[in-house]
Amino acid sequence: MRKILVSAFVIFHFSAVTLWVFWPYAEQFSKDSSQKTPFAALERGVLEKIRSLDDAPVFRLVDFYINTLGLHQYWDFFAPQTPRVHRYLRVCRHISLDPESKLIACKQPLYKSYRGTLGDAVHSFDGLNSRDFRFTENMVRLHRLNFYEKFLKYWHDHAHTGSETKRSEIYAIISEFELQPDSRPNSAGSIRRDEVVWMITP
């Protein structure tokens, strides 16, 4: 009896994980005629089958199982779609805009997700700032304005308690620069751009 239960659990678990992991790709890849995988036809069939389960009770069961036991897994972060630009997030009080380059200078930075100096970046083995990089990557990808607002509000309320801070505006700025394989990143030739994505006023 124990063996039957264990066997059923193993089969159920990996079926659930497979369904949950591939479900987000079903919409994205099933109609992609340019796909180059060695088994494109088989893949398309499987993904369409998964798509058809969208509202089925089995999918709700899988979702409940994965969510309750915290087994969320999406392994595409081991296959980064390496961007041609590097982005980072800044939270600033008092900014100034250079009219020529359109770049924004941050006079009183409250938060910056990128701390490196680009030309000679050698990272230590702790890799701590990669958490900030991951955070920025997700914030930019999701681009939820309420997230920017909440994040700014946090810095407004907690970073400084002086009355001057409470009265001043705070900005969330996404900065990006082009990565060029044939020259140094952030060199004079690379394209740079700053954008205010949200601001809060007192």
């Binding site: 063996k3 193993v10 990996f14 497979t18 897994q73 590097h86 700032n129 958490r131």
Partner: protein
């Protein structure tokens, strides 16, 4: 035929192995989780505590985040710090094998709570630690090389199925990563490593000056192709003993390369520790001649 399938299945999941392999995995994973939680300390106040930027009840509405977290129920900043310190204590106890099942379950609950509160700065290394801990909790990993072992009768052998689940999960991670890479233009044309190695966050050294060498660009293209195929075929290659050996050696070299060249926190170390699931169980037996096969 049915009998053959039944016997193969039985041998695949229920053959008994020396539990030292589980114990070593517990020590490795437990230690890495402790390190991971300590490394999260500088981010805790902003992203996870009661005063964090996301509201205490959690207002993420993401496909990848879960529905519950102990952090949602806490009522003050002090409580949320106690939560993190307790999580670190639990992971240490788990590593040492003290009240292993309870400390392991508490550690898992803490990891899930952190993920569900704010997964925006978490990554693959966080996910793989959590999932592997889940499997390890089904094994008697605290029966040897642990504080628990001083107080209770030791069991030497146990069914292999938790280890099999870890092996399948490991192969699954590689397969999905490889499969996704086959959908990426940068991976398909072999240019991805050029960009990665000059990326100011991913790359440990700035190698932009090296990218002018044509031979290096070509070599990086070949390496990216090898990585894609190795990952995609990992589950298949693991089925055959000799192919598995080559596959694992390639994996170790790959992760050592990542550790040296890329800035991915403890990811490479985690994967290298987890390669322990592919070491034949006979190497963990005190008396190798009486060991069961794995």
């Amino acid at each position: 035929m049915l009998n053959f399938i039944s016997c193969t299945w039985d041998r695949f999941l229920f053959v008994r192995i020396d539990i030292k392999q589980y114990a070593f995995l517990r020590i490795g994973i437990g230690f890495l989780i402790t390190l991971y939680l300590i490394n999260l300390l500088p981010y805790y106040s902003v992203h996870y505590s009661f005063n964090a930027w996301l509201s205490p009840m959690g207002d993420l509405d993401l496909y990848h985040s879960g529905s519950w977290s102990i952090l949602f129920w806490l009522q003050s900043q002090t409580q949320s710090w106690y939560f993190l310190y307790s999580a670190i204590a639990c992971s240490m106890l788990y590593t040492l094998g003290a009240a292993t099942k309870i400390s392991g379950c508490c550690t898992l609950i803490a990891l899930i709570s952190l993920w569900n509160k704010n997964p925006l700065l978490l990554d693959g290394d966080d996910a793989i630690l959590r999932v592997m801990l889940f499997f390890l909790l089904f094994s008697p990993s605290g029966r040897v090389l642990s504080i628990d072992a001083f107080f209770r009768l030791q069991t030497r052998h146990s069914p292999v199925w938790p280890l099999r689940m870890m092996q399948i999960q490991f192969a699954f991670v590689y397969f999905v990563s490889g499969w996704v890479k086959f959908h990426s233009p940068e991976w398909l044309d072999g240019s991805v490593l050029q960009t990665v190695l000059i990326h100011p966050e991913y790359s440990r050294f700035n190698l932009s000056a090296w990218m002018s060498y044509e031979w290096l660009v070509k070599l990086l293209g070949v390496i990216s192709g090898l990585i894609m195929w190795w990952e995609l075929l990992f589950p298949l290659l693991c089925l055959q003993r000799h192919a598995r050996f080559i596959c694992v050696i390639f994996g170790i070299i790959f992760h050592l390369g990542l550790l040296l060249m890329m800035n991915l926190r403890e990811f490479s170390i985690i994967m290298l520790v987890l390669y322990m699931v592919f070491i034949p169980n006979r190497y963990f037996c005190s008396n190798r001649s009486s060991s069961s096969q794995n």
